[in-house]
């Protein structure tokens, strides 16, 4: 079997769903974010849990009142849910960004966007971190 035994995670204390919820509430000021407008793109299965590409894009004119101010990235199954906060400006032109992150195990990656007008959006995607794999 083509497994990578070293990929078997140890057992550090994981973040809890409550912690993730708390981060989202702090970020949105207690509002429940809506779905739509924000798209999180990530691979279905991580090629390497140490470097998982993730991208976000928010539909926005990025001028006037229609400006994305921040997008927060969380990983609900890492030892700590925080990953990054992207800060955009009108000079960004488009509210889109890509980075690479660590995933300790299979889990949801969550993105939350905060707009200038106070509205908030959420998207999530499950990324599988696998130790096995065989081939056809």
């Amino acid at each position: 079997v083509a497994f990578a035994a070293a990929g078997l995670p140890g057992r550090p204390a994981w973040a809890t769903p409550e912690e993730t919820e708390k981060r989202i509430a702090e970020f949105t000021g207690g509002k429940t974010p809506e779905t739509g407008r924000l798209t999180l793109t990530a691979p279905e299965i991580a090629e390497n849990g140490n470097t998982v590409p993730i991208s976000i894009e928010v539909e926005s004119a990025m001028e006037g009142d229609d400006v994305v101010e921040q997008v927060m990235i969380l990983a609900e199954g890492n030892p700590n849910p925080d990953v990054a906060i992207f800060n955009f400006s009108e000079a960004s032109g488009i509210a889109a960004a890509t980075t690479r992150m660590r995933l300790a195990r299979t889990q949801n990656v969550i993105a939350v966007a905060k707009m200038k007008d106070g509205s908030t959006f959420i998207d999530k995607k499950e990324v599988k971190v696998t130790i096995g794999g065989c081939g056809g």
Partner: protein, 540 residues
């Protein structure tokens, strides 16, 4: 209907197999997953192929007698032999070996002669790996043979296991494009391969998009091509389809190594693809599967089949088609003299070693099946015996040819089951918990109800232990009742066991090559006689 009539009512002749009433203005010829088989082979199709979730019971998850019934094929007929595992050993003696690039060349040349330039020959990948000669020549034998066949494009998977440098060297030498829109430079996040190519054939603008195996860096050693990142990248496929249409494509073809269920899901989610030529999961389907307006074509593996798909494309749209999955019966279809000579030349330096006899088998040796195959039973026995292990693990590869009962096992046969660039037979200590985690992980890669999380392949084969599997359960809950065969006791999570296996994706894995382990075992056990494998209990 058409399929069984051709088979059952007429004698099997080259003309019966190849006569084809041309249709429309362009022909696609599809070959995939040849796994470096230059000469005709025996290859037993799977007796089980479980589909989960929405695709349970749908082709290609239909095998044996159910398959014969579904496609109205007479038991015992040539097509029953070609397409199922039913009565395989007996029918193999009747109908002989299948495939061979020399026979395939006869078919391709005949279609070319008939259709002139109105034809595209497309290779779905897993072409360069799977034989002794391919391994010894770093894929060069297949490159030369395929160049002689002159495909118009290819994509890949096992190709990458020759390492980035060799793959790049070969691709630069190819007289046709190697397409892979889902392969990115891992450092700067930029496309690393050509995504699609436009062809004009019969007045039709055809866009061929290439999709390499999305999980190549997971199923195979990532360290061999560290700068390439793969993935399904559905949004890229959609963007490339749109770009091809905008550039004037009348017909959009996805030359895919995604695996059948991934492609079926993709067809339902990305519009604008006329044809998906599927690969990787080695399915041979006598009829296309239609998803919306997309046709999915499955052309089998190991050179056993060639698909001819005639298309009527008018006013920028596909109006109709005529399809045949041509079974390459090597005793019926004549060898093309030029290709035969080339293959003979390519194999000549290795002929003596290829023919060297290692043992005789009284049991049919085959690989395909979701949970075990006799060739892997033999490999697991060898691992336990030679590497003095409690438990053996053998990957659920779908490539590898069959050896009939009563025949000798040659070096060539053995390598057809294990020729690869990371063959080390490791021996390590694993806890019961780790072994359970591995089985669960592999099971989820096979039986996840979302096809996008499936990697193709089959369940890791085990020796020395038994277990129960419930494919329909969720991750972490599929594998139960793990038992160590030699003691009959339950495998304990906290206890350590000696595990031998091969084909680890980890760099610097130590151990003799797997073929050496099996050869050593066969030297002491010159007659192979395998009992029915009862190690895996299926719960549903």
């Amino acid at each position: 209907g058409r399929w069984s009539q051709a088979a059952a009512q007429q004698a099997l002749t080259e003309d019966t197999l190849l006569d084809f009433q041309a249709h429309g203005n362009v022909t696609l010829v599809h070959l995939t997953d040849i796994h470096a088989q230059l000469r005709p082979v025996y290859f037993r199709e799977p007796s089980e192929n479980i589909g989960v979730g929405a695709v349970a019971g749908l082709p290609p998850h239909v095998t044996g007698a159910d398959f014969l019934k579904l496609y109205d094929i007479a038991p015992g007929s040539p097509h029953s032999y070609a397409l199922t595992s039913e009565d395989f050993s007996a029918l193999a003696r009747t109908y002989g070996r299948m495939g061979g690039l020399d026979r395939i060349a006869t078919i391709v040349k005949r279609i070319r002669a008939e259709r002139g330039d109105n034809m595209l020959l497309l290779d779905g990948g897993d072409t360069w790996q799977g034989s002794y000669t391919a391994l010894k020549t770093n894929g060069q034998d297949m490159v030369e043979a395929m160049n002689a066949l002159a495909p118009d494009a290819m994509t890949g998977h096992w190709e990458f296991t020759y390492g980035a440098e060799r793959v790049t060297e070969i691709i630069e030498s190819l007289p046709f494009p190697f397409l892979g829109g889902n392969i990115y430079d891992a450092e700067w996040n930029e496309p690393a391969f050509e995504a699609y190519k436009m062809f004009e054939r019969g007045g039709v603008n055809i866009a061929v998009l290439g999709q390499a195996f999305p999980y190549t860096p997971i199923a195979n050693p990532r360290w061999m091509f560290p700068n390439w990142s793969f993935g399904i990248r559905e949004e890229d496929i959609a963007a490339n389809v749109a770009a091809a249409r905008a550039a004037g494509a009348d017909l959009v073809v996805l030359l895919s190594h995604n695996g059948f269920d991934v492609d079926r899901a993709l067809a339902s989610r990305v519009s604008g693809i006329d044809i998906i030529l599927t690969g990787h999961t080695h399915d041979a389907l006598p009829e296309p599967v239609k998803v919306g307006s997309t046709l999915l074509i499955a052309s089998g593996s190991h050179g056993k089949f060639v698909t001819r798909l005639d298309l009527d494309v008018r006013d920028g749209a596909l109006k109709g088609f005529r399809h045949r999955l041509i079974p390459v019966f090597s005793d019926v279809i004549s060898a093309d003299a030029e290709m035969d000579a080339l293959v003979t030349r390519l194999r000549a330096p290795f002929e003596d070693e290829l023919k060297r006899e290692l043992a005789t088998t009284e049991t049919l040796l085959y690989r395909r099946g979701n949970f075990n195959g006799t060739f892997d039973d033999l490999i697991c026995q060898a691992l336990i015996d030679v590497r003095e292990a409690d438990i053996a693990l053998s990957p659920g590869f779908r490539w590898g040819t069959s050896v009939l009962p009563g025949e000798t096992i040659t070096v060539e046969d053995l390598h057809n089951a294990c020729a690869m660039t990371y063959p080390a037979a490791y021996r390590s200590t694993m806890s019961g918990e780790t072994i359970h985690a591995i089985l669960e992980d592999v099971a989820d890669n096979l039986f996840n109800t979302d096809p996008y999380y499936q990697q193709g392949g089959d369940m890791v084969r085990v020796g020395g232990m038994a277990y129960t599997i419930d494919p329909g359960a969720t991750m972490g809950n599929r594998i139960t009742d793990m038992t160590l065969v030699k003691t009959g006791e339950a495998i304990e999570p906290g206890r350590d066991y000696i595990v031998a296996g091969w084909a680890s994706v980890n760099e610097a894995t130590e151990g003799p090559p797997i073929w050496q382990v099996v050869e050593d075992y066969l030297a002491r056990n010159p007659v192979v006689r395998l009992e029915e494998n009862r190690l895996v209990t299926l719960k549903s």
